[in-house]
């Protein structure tokens, strides 16, 4: 009997140790701009990462080719400095020896770490990056799920304006790389479409007052206003356009409207504004979209950023589905990410080279406080509505 007991204890011990081995977590590394210039933008991405991790862990763990393992994050602050991100990704791969990687925030950081993952042949699904130059990165190790690439955006925006009978446009742009890159493609596209550019102004990122510029737009009275703006000047634009009383039926504001505080700050004034974005929770065909939105709101009491949070979560979904098939082997993972089609909150995603080949370049419009896809019509969740005059 004693022997039997001893044997049982030994077996139990063995089982425990096997159990402990099986529970070894999958370590996923990334850097984020927790301080510095981009710090205000990064939480929308980190929130999506943490929501995904918690959901996966609550469901028993990450499916690594059939075996369930908990997810553990290894995260560093890159201080908004791309060269710091390079050092961190190098360290994550060589010293920390993480199993998987997630992306840092923003286009410059994606460019910076692309070289590191290429050197080590380590697959990385990017997210919050958008530039035509992304297409010049060697394919094979990094992928970009966004479809908001400046040249395609310019084409689609002009097509959308044409569909609304726009003949004249006032164009104002913040002098930052992303907005200027869009402008570079937008101006020739507008000219080719015969849409007159009646105001064409640029302004520095630290602008404090737009009254003079907006008075100029008011005098020109265009059909459309396109503000290629960033969050802080988007706030300035919204406040002062309303104050000056600049109205146009087609009203585009680039970066800002999809951030949670915007809807809270502007309420009904936000209705009618068109903005960048290819995801909406109201797209019922994308079965995962609304549950993601609801879980995010429940966890953080704010709405996700329709662009960055959605992209960050998509990149996690793609990685998760690839790991379920390929396990953690880098070569196998690269192959699966490059060839498979993934089911995301933004619908099916398949890559062609480094780019998302399935998600159309789209635009959102705020209607009754909700962000609806209004362009292209093939994926719209609501018909476009001309913007009414600003509420007083």
């Amino acid at each position: 009997m004693k022997r039997l007991l001893a044997g049982l204890v030994a077996v139990a011990g063995l089982a425990l140790s096997i159990g402990a081995q099986a529970a070894e977590p999958v370590r996923i590394g990334f850097s984020l701009a927790q301080t510095g210039l981009f710090a205000a933008a990064a939480p929308s991405q980190l929130n999506a990462y943490e929501l995904w991790r918690d959901q996966v862990n609550a469901a028993g763990g990450l499916d690594v080719a059939g075996e369930l393992r908990m997810i553990e994050f290894v995260m560093y602050d890159d201080r908004s400095d791309p060269s710091e991100a390079v050092r961190i990704y190098e360290k994550l791969i060589t010293e920390d020896q993480v199993d998987l990687l997630l992306a840092p925030w923003g286009t410059p950081h994606h460019f910076a770490v692309a070289g590191v993952v290429e050197k080590h042949g380590f697959p990385l699904v990017g997210n919050s990056a958008a530039s035509v130059q992304l297409r010049d990165i060697n394919p094979g190790n990094i992928w970009f799920p966004t479809s908001a690439i400046p040249d395609r955006m310019a084409e689609e925006l002009v097509a959308m304006m044409q569909s609304q009978g726009v003949t004249s446009v006032a164009l104002i742009a913040n002098q930052l790389p992303f907005s200027l890159e869009i402008k570079q493609f937008l101006v020739p596209a507008l000219e080719a479409a015969g849409i007159a550019i009646v105001v064409n102004d640029e302004y520095p990122p630290d602008i404090q007052d737009m009254t003079a510029m907006l008075s100029g737009i008011q005098t020109a009275a265009p059909d459309a206003i396109v503000a290629l703006s960033y969050p802080s000047d988007s706030v300035l634009y919204m406040n002062q356009a309303r104050e000056v009383g600049v109205n146009a039926p087609f009203h585009f504001v680039l970066v800002g409207p999809t951030i949670d505080f915007f809807a809270g700050m502007f309420g009904p004034s936000l209705d009618g504004i068109v903005t960048i974005g290819h995801w909406s929770p109201y797209k019922t065909e994308w079965a995962r979209a609304k549950p993601f939105f609801d879980a995010y709101v429940a966890k953080y009491q704010t709405t996700p950023d329709y662009l960055d949070s959605a992209l960050a979560y998509m990149s996690c979904e793609i990685l998760q589905q690839a790991v379920a098939v390929a396990g953690l082997d880098h070569d196998r993972l690269r192959e699966v990410i490059a060839l498979d089609t993934f089911d995301t909150i933004n619908g099916p995603v398949k890559f062609d080279g480094v780019s998302n080949a399935t998600t159309p370049t789209s635009f959102l419009q705020f209607q009754g406080g909700e962000a609806h896809l209004v362009w292209p019509e093939s994926i719209a969740t609501a018909p476009y509505q001309p913007k009414e005059a600003w509420p007083q």
């Binding site: 927790q34 710090a39 302004y203 630290d206 706030v235 000056v244 309420g267």
Partner: protein, 296 residues
């Protein structure tokens, strides 16, 4: 081009100028009386804005009601920093000699600490207040209520401080300390007290500016830096330590920001502001109203 005679431009220039003047006034008081360069000034604007945000979000206290408390709060923080960091330095004559450059480093450290503490406690997620968002229209002029309130409060507080410095005994003592430190000591003014009050007033004004800007734009732990830079440009333009000069320079910057841009293009905004800044420094190195005694 925008109509230069429009009341809309005038309103914009006044709002911007009043806010610049107010932000710079606090910085100037601390520099003028103690030769301390408070590069953390913008962080106290940020803290004021967050105080207004939390008062509104957690306790439904409107920013305009919370303003006096915000001023008291940041003034108290100013006092604590004075006691904790600077009183000893200012007392020690050998350290006091190097105070101007040392204060720069100390405040720089403080600014980074405050930014990151705010990011840790409040998260870096941008926030904003839906408050006073109606528009008042008089003829062609549209005025957002929050901007009108900002103009009225910033202008009246600035005026009140100018009067305080002219007619109140403590105010006069502050002015005396700015003009001539040695003489102030000789005539028996309690310099320690005057320094303490200037610190409290300077930091309180930063908090006030923060409470006001919380109504106008997004609130983040990193929002303070541009306010600090603008305030520096304003007080250097006006003459370091010269309070009236600072107010004129604040207004000048507001006018440049609106009329200068209206006459040229928004492209030239920074060129105009920093161009005029450099030009004035070349022509009048002591600033617009700075005397030789102060601009050393």
């Amino acid at each position: 081009m925008a109509d230069l005679l429009s009341t809309q431009l005038l309103f914009a220039a006044l709002v911007t100028g009043a806010l610049y003047g107010l932000t710079a006034l606090g910085l100037n008081l601390v520099y003028g009386t103690m030769r301390l360069l408070n590069v953390a000034h913008g962080e106290f604007v940020m803290l004021g804005a967050f105080a207004a945000y939390w008062a509104f979000t957690l306790a439904a206290i409107p920013p305009l009601v919370a303003l006096p408390f915000i001023v008291l709060l940041t003034a108290a923080a100013g006092l604590a920093i004075y006691r904790g960091l600077f009183r000893g330095l200012l007392r020690n004559p050998r350290l006091a000699e190097r105070i101007e450059s040392n204060s720069l480093l100390l405040f720089f450290g403080l600014s980074i600490v405050l930014q990151n503490v705010a990011a840790a406690f409040f998260t870096a997620t941008p926030r904003a207040l839906p408050y006073l968002d109606s528009i008042i229209r008089i003829g062609d002029l549209g005025m957002a209520t929050d901007r009108l309130a900002t103009l009225i409060i910033a202008a009246s507080v600035t005026l009140a401080i100018v009067l305080f410095l002219r007619f109140n005994l403590l105010g006069l003592a502050i002015k005396a300390l700015i003009q001539n430190r040695e003489a102030t000591l000789i005539v028996g003014i309690d310099v320690e007290k005057v320094q303490r009050m200037s610190f409290a007033l300077g930091f309180g004004l930063a908090g006030l500016a923060g409470g006001l800007v919380s109504m106008l734009g997004q609130i983040t732990p990193f929002m303070g830096f541009p306010y600090m830079i603008t305030a520096f440009v304003v007080i250097i333009l006006g003459g370091l330590g010269n309070l009236t000069g600072g107010l004129i320079a604040g207004l000048l910057l507001g006018v440049l920001e609106t009329y200068g841009v209206a006459l040229t293009s928004t492209n030239y905004r920074s060129i105009l502001i920093y161009g005029v800044f450099i030009l004035i420094l070349v022509l009048r190195p002591q600033g617009l109203l700075g005397g030789r005694r102060i601009a050393r």
